[in-house]
């Protein structure tokens, strides 16, 4: 007996030795470090091209500067959010748009330097933007600002960069805020380019060549370590000396890390964990409504029976909106139903005027010749299951009541994307944020065209014509009136049924302040401070 007990004792002694908490030096480093826990892997550091995901964009915003960014404004709840109406200088200290609206001139900060100490020149800007235009996925968004070819870009002198446009365009300056428009140290990148890879795409995946507020310290897909660039001149000096982006796949662990003080910020917190953390009160469970986001149900409006707008409207009348908002979305965010009267000008997303009305739904179905109902498949991505699991069940029950029999496909991300790209679906649940949150961007990206973001597969001649006719320099009155008409059209023909504007939900350590909601919906450690 004695020997056994001794063995136990020595075992406990060894493990106690192993478990002694870290040294004092670590604790000091910890104070000045923001550790952010998220579920994503960071596969690449290059904001454009294969492998770039949301995590890449977030890290890229720390490593690289853009010409311009948005101002952040205080929210009534003490947190902050970006203001789409106020563009603020970043690399460019000022810019002007010519009287005819066809030339935009950016003047770079004289003191802006890359991490290797070389000054940022207009040639770097030209090279970086031309590179973005060489990759189709980035070019598609840059085209919204009428930027299509490198010929439109001009280096006037070392610090002056000029863009010429075929016509005035209200996105001409705004496109330079997006993650794709990162300004790269072109000399450094060119040294690492090869004949097959003239834009150094492969090298930039693993290496940073920027001048942003943070430098790359070490990079693994599941842990990105950044240190502050004390020479940074393009914005207010960040408070945190180090930033760690740590991949933590388990949502419960992410929350627990913040509660125990091992991490400062955890994002992508599912509703159950969020409520539990809120109840325990060891860390702050916070949410900020996202003005440029929409949760929706999209119907493939080019295949039967959804090519009949009455069928789409019938479905919009059948959804139990209040139950969805309170039960599924826990009352968080902003409802996008039950709107009254005419839509507002120059605003999107907006509430539809649909309310839950099964009788009207059945009448519409009958009118469309589907009084016996039909079978339909609904799909969504597993990555968004936290909300869409319960939502899909609510939708199935509600549509069942008007005779529409729903089967549910819960698909891995790659399969979901494949079916969206092939337009091989009937109904889907999804949500999106718009980087450029003006209404006509929503209509261009999400309600027209052949791109995968047009999830309702909507092709409406009248809307397309209205978009084409909308002048790029329309006065606020004209713009407001035209976008009100477009809003009214898409909310009546409902290729996508808006459900709510979501809220970004995260857990933050007590004593941390400054969290700012940005248009990309991801954390930006430049804003974080310890109180």
């Amino acid at each position: 007996m004695k020997t056994r007990r001794d063995v136990c004792k020595s075992l406990i002694a060894t493990s106690a030795f192993a478990l002694t908490p870290g040294s004092v030096a670590i604790a000091q480093g910890r104070e000045a470090t923001a550790r952010i826990a998220w579920p994503f892997d960071t596969a690449s550091l290059d904001a454009i091209g294969v492998g770039a995901q949301r995590s890449t964009w977030s890290v890229s915003l720390h490593l690289y500067d853009r010409l311009v960014t948005y101002a952040a404004i205080d929210r009534p709840d003490g947190m902050r959010q970006y203001d789409p109406a106020q563009v603020r200088p970043e690399l460019a200290e000022r810019w002007e748009v010519s009287a005819n609206g066809r030339t935009v001139t950016f003047h770079l900060r004289p003191d802006a330097k890359f991490h290797d100490g070389s000054p940022v020149t207009a040639e770097d800007v030209r090279w970086s933007i031309e590179r973005a235009l060489s990759v189709k996925s980035a070019a598609g968004v840059m085209a919204v600002g009428a930027l299509k070819s490198g010929d439109q870009l001009k280096v006037v002198d070392d610090r002056t960069f000029q863009v010429s446009l075929p016509a005035p365009n209200r996105f001409a300056v705004l496109v330079f805020t997006i993650p794709f428009a990162a300004i790269i140290n072109s000399r450094l990148a060119k040294q690492n380019a090869t004949a097959q890879d003239p834009w150094a795409n492969e090298w930039l995946k693993r290496n940073a060549a920027g001048g942003g507020a943070y430098k790359l310290e070490s990079f693994r897909n599941d842990q990105v370590l950044l240190t502050r660039n004390d020479a940074w001149a393009c914005g207010p000096k960040p408070s945190m000396q180090q930033v760690i982006f740590q991949t933590v796949p388990e949502a419960a662990t992410r929350g627990a890390l913040v509660e125990r003080g091992a991490a400062d910020l955890a994002i992508e917190i599912p509703p159950n964990d969020f409520s539990a953390i809120e109840a325990r009160g060891q860390a702050r469970a916070l949410s900020i409504p996202m003005p440029n986001q929409m949760d929706f149900m999209a119907m493939n409006s080019q295949v039967a029976p959804f090519n009949d707008e009455r069928v789409r409207q019938a479905i919009a009348c059948a959804l139990p909106y209040a139950q969805i908002f309170q039960g599924v979305f826990r009352g968080r965010g902003t409802p996008l139903f039950g709107g009254k009267g005419e839509p507002k000008p120059a605003l999107f997303p907006q509430p539809t005027d649909f309310t839950t009305d099964p009788d009207r739904a059945s009448a519409l179905l009958k009118e469309a010749g589907h009084s016996g109902g039909f079978d339909v498949n609904l799909m969504y991505s597993i990555g968004k299951a936290a909300y869409f699991d319960p939502l899909s069940l609510v939708v199935r029950d509600a549509l069942g009541k008007i005779g529409i029999r729903v089967t549910i496909d819960r698909l891995p991300g790659a399969q979901f994307d494949e079916r969206v790209a092939a337009r091989n679906f009937q109904i889907l649940l999804d949500n999106r944020v718009a980087w450029l949150s003006l209404p006509d961007y929503w209509f261009t990206a999400f309600y027209s065209g052949a791109s995968t973001s047009n999830l309702g597969n909507f092709d409406d001649a009248k809307l397309n014509q209205m978009l084409m006719d909308l002048p790029g320099d329309a006065s606020p009155e004209v713009y407001g009136e035209k976008t009100r008409e477009m809003t009214s059209l898409v909310l009546t023909k409902v290729p996508m049924i808006p459900l709510r504007q979501g809220a970004v939900e995260f857990v933050m350590a007590k004593g941390l302040t400054g969290y700012t909601y940005w248009f990309h919906g991801l954390p930006d450690a430049r804003d974080l401070r310890r109180a």
Binding site: I26, D222, Q415
Partner: protein, 343 residues
């Protein structure tokens, strides 16, 4: 001398026999990964506004528009010179990604195996000696619980108790505290590297980070090892030479350990081989729960991202390790039991 060359021939035969197996695994995973639904081209056309044309551009740049047999031939040509391809996502060579991450998985597996052996063999022996007693029943209960509990549940429960409630272990992510100075890479095994560098703090941190995931992996394999030890031990204890040893009044160490356990270990050795291979697979789940930067979580992420090359590379690597372990077990058998090497 004759015995030596006989042994060599046996080893050669075993190794040659493994080659077709590896080729088969290669072909099988190649086809499987491509038959699975999910289009990498659609996934990688990442912009918010991807079009069909752009997806086609991505597809041809990935070589996915070539006929399948052509892709297969190209794949094997590359593998034969040690090129496992490039990960689409990271842009890195799969072979260097795997080399970087394999030590993390091996360290975890080895420590887990040590814990499992340290628990299961004594328990199995005691259960056999006291068959039918409460010790036996308790051992069976522990074993059953371990087998019945999926690895991710065991992992989360351990995290909840030891990290969240008691705060005894460091945060259950990664191999080492990010603020600790890491030892220079020699073997890639942090425990060994930190000792070589004389870095006590790194050793502590690595050991503390290793504890929970290793326990999780140990829990799931304790049962088969213990049951096998018990069964084999009971058979041995019933044999004549043990009865003789007992009758001769030898001490319990001599009877149970020197004679008993030594003879009982042969089938246990086979089980260890099986269990290690199984553990390498279980790694995938445990690594995901503990955000462990090993090959398992790498393979899973790649699979979810329809990144073909890393998945194929991972399966080939695992098949290779499996073959090595099995060959080693066979050779150990042949060494201990002459009947095995003469067919």
């Amino acid at each position: 001398m004759a015995r030596n060359s006989e042994m060599l021939r046996f080893i050669l035969r075993r190794v040659m026999g493994a080659l077709p197996l590896l080729v088969g695994v290669g072909v099988f995973t190649f086809i499987l990964v491509r038959v699975l639904p999910g289009d990498p081209a659609a996934y990688y056309a990442t912009g918010p506004m991807a079009t069909q044309e752009e997806i086609a551009q991505v597809r041809s740049s990935l070589g996915l528009d070539r006929p399948l047999p052509e892709q297969l031939v190209r794949y094997f040509k590359d593998v034969s010179v040690g090129d496992l391809g490039r990960s689409l996502v990271t842009g890195q060579l799969v072979s260097s990604d795997l080399r970087e991450r394999l030590p993390a998985s091996l360290e975890l597996t080895m420590v887990a195996m040590l814990i499992a052996l340290a628990v299961s063999i004594p328990l199995g022996v005691v259960a056999a000696i006291r068959a039918g007693s409460w010790v036996d029943h308790l051992a069976r209960l522990i074993g059953t619980l371990g087998v019945a509990m999926p690895a991710f549940v065991a992992g989360i429960v351990l995290i909840f108790i030891f990290y969240f409630k008691l705060g005894l272990t460091p945060e259950p992510i990664d191999r080492i505290d990010p603020f600790t100075l890491k030892p220079p890479v020699v073997t890639g095994l942090l425990l060994i590297d930190s000792l070589l560098a004389g870095n006590v703090e790194a050793f502590r941190s690595a050991l503390a980070h290793l504890l929970l995931p290793a326990l999780t992996m140990a829990v799931i394999v304790v049962a088969p090892l213990m049951r096998m030890t018990r069964a084999s031990m009971i058979a041995v204890l019933a044999s004549d030479f043990i009865r003789t040893a007992r009758a001769a009044g030898m001490g319990w160490w001599k009877v149970y350990v020197s004679y008993g356990l030594r003879n009982a270990l042969v089938p246990v050795l086979t089980t260890i081989g099986l269990v290690v291979s199984y553990q390498l697979g279980a790694n995938v789940v445990v690594e995901k729960v503990f955000a462990w930067p090993g090959v398992g979580s790498y393979a899973l992420n790649s699979l979810l991202a329809t990144d073909y090359a890393p998945v194929q590379g991972y399966v080939l690597l695992m098949a290779g390790i499996y073959v090595v372990i099995n060959t080693a077990v066979d050779i150990l058998h042949a060494l201990t039991d002459p009947r095995v090497r003469i067919q």
